[in-house]
Homo-oligomer: 349 residues x 2
């Protein structure tokens, strides 16, 4: 049923024939009928937006190995869990995380009913667009902004507010909705993995209730397969009507060492493939590739394409990639070059 | 893929032909081909261990309605979430929750390295089997017992300890492994719902990592569809080897008003069917049946079968059913009588 959920009509139209193969809930190639799977792959390139480079070869070889019962690297279908970071891995994260753009926009809206914010940091900095003052506010200021923009309403109302923002917001550079800035090669990889018996999950530092509003239409990943940071909610019944109220308290931060914890909390299985793009994904890749029993694959998307997207790594304030880049070599992680490994970057829809 | 996961070979052998229908990952009857689904139901009784009573009729009618696109009560497949309490709903919970029996057993084991417990409550009470003193220790004492028995080791070691206990433990009355005390009518209901496009989840006050050890082999529910209480874990790397360490801190209690919160945290969708058996399930049923857009069904298993299992409700210390029993009438919840509605109680394997 999940594979049905993972394939909204929109994407079915948009993506490759193998994607359709992935949607057909018939026993997944590799999982039940490895031979059939191999043939399908021979007939149609499962990753048409990936150039025929070493990175693509590593992915294809890994999937072939874990789905071949005769291969020592074989992994049982129920253990084929693949986790993907979101911002910078599945869609653009520069110059500012979409969720942060939402938070700043929401603070400006709320400022109308919070006149005191005009002279109160970090809110004053947001209202005046004072980046320096915003940076000075640091982590504590960030929490204040998240709490003020994400809590104090029902889960239903938050969902409505986010859905409207995601629909109306435009990316400053590409002038397109963020939902059109998902990476086509990654959508193909998600469908390819699902077609080979994998269960795909988003594991992001972003807040789970923000991502749930667009994960299925944009990535074909249902809400129950989205793992992220969260705030505390309280069950309330008012006038006989139950609701979940979002409290101004951070419940969990699903980033860095929090990612293996979030994976364990939510999924309960250790991934065999993890794909990230920043130091926030280091522990997720470490946890994944240190697993035993069959092959494991860690991948890091390297943003080295200033022309088609952005070029950044060690010095970047958003999506800093330093420690994980150094570790990739000895860890055997695949560094995917956006510039060289991807034929196209964004999904055309 | 989940439907594959939901059907371990053991159960495939054990259950009805419709169950097999449910395993075949072909589009689920009702979901994609309602007509085909109806025919299948006509051919074989999907709930052979249920007597042909009003309760069974309510279930069959609900499933028919939510899977019929022409019925105003129709619910899209991706919204068909069904949540089941565990203790007392899917398997026996008297005279003591299996997990509590495990905790007491573990305390006695640990007493060998904790001589101080001989004179320290609530541990002394556990060691001496002093029920009165144990009750006096109350909620605070319970937390001490849970923390002492469930934490202070890696998630991997805890899984091993629980798995061994579940394998070796025997129920005091039935003298069978707890894993053989799952309710056959409920296993049939789980498979029937899955065959009709539902995604089934366990939502229990029990700890998620305890249930994960047996949920799939016993119920055919994969670990990622188990929602429960949890303790905090910390990601650690020692000697280059990463692990998740179980801290002596309660993270979340998935009971009473915590159930809708746990459902929202983990699943992100409001169930359209919820099945419980005690006041701990009241809010889950309330939250579920207050939902809109298509039909909703709340069910309560009433333990009124002293001969085949146990008879208890309002006065019981374990699985107290009082408030929820009173609310059932006006809420339209189905009260399932174990004595009258179930042909058989336990799965024969």
């Amino acid at each position: 049923m999940n594979s049905t959920r993972g394939c909204p009509r929109l994407l079915v139209l948009a993506l490759s024939t193998l994607f359709v193969l992935g949607c057909a809930s018939s026993p997944t190639p590799g999982a039940e009928e490895p031979k059939a799977g191999m043939e399908a792959e021979a007939v149609v390139d499962p990753l048409p937006s990936w150039n025929d480079t070493e990175s693509k070869a590593r992915i294809l070889d890994f999937v072939r190995a874990v789905t071949d019962p005769d291969d020592p690297a074989f992994v049982k279908p129920e253990e084929r869990v693949a986790t993907f970071d979101n911002d910078g891995t599945l869609w653009v994260e520069q110059p500012l995380y979409a969720e942060m753009a939402f938070a700043l926009h929401r603070i400006k809206d709320l400022a109308h009913v919070h006149p005191e914010w005009k002279t109160q940091q970090p809110f004053q900095a947001v209202i005046e667009g004072d980046k320096e003052a915003l940076l000075e506010a640091g982590a504590h200021g960030l929490v204040e902004i998240v709490v003020a923009s994400h809590t104090g309403m029902s889960a239903t109302l938050f969902d409505t507010i986010v859905t409207q923002w995601v629909r109306d917001a435009r990316h400053p550079k590409f002038e397109r909705p963020y939902t059109e800035l998902a990476y086509q090669p990654q959508l193909e990889l998600l469908r390819y993995l699902e077609a080979n018996g994998f269960e795909t999950f988003i594991v992001s530092g972003g807040s789970v209730e923000f991502m749930r509003t667009y994960a299925e239409p944009v990535y074909g990943i249902p809400v129950e397969r989205v793992v992220g940071s969260s705030i505390e909610t309280r069950y309330e019944v008012q006038g006989g009507k139950p609701s979940l109220f979002r409290l101004p308290v951070i419940d969990f931060v699903d980033d860095k060492a929090g990612k293996p914890v979030g994976i364990h909390k939510h999924i309960g299985r250790r991934p065999i493939l993890a794909f990230g793009n920043s130091d926030g994904d280091f522990e997720m890749l470490q946890w994944t590739t240190a697993g035993s029993g069959g092959a494991r694959l860690g991948l890091i998307l390297h943003h080295d394409d200033a022309q088609r997207e952005y070029a950044y790594d060690r010095q970047s304030r958003v999506g800093k990639l330093d420690k994980a880049l150094d570790a990739a070599g000895q860890s055997g992680w695949v560094i995917v070059s956006m510039k060289n490994d991807w034929k196209t970057v964004f999904s055309e829809k």
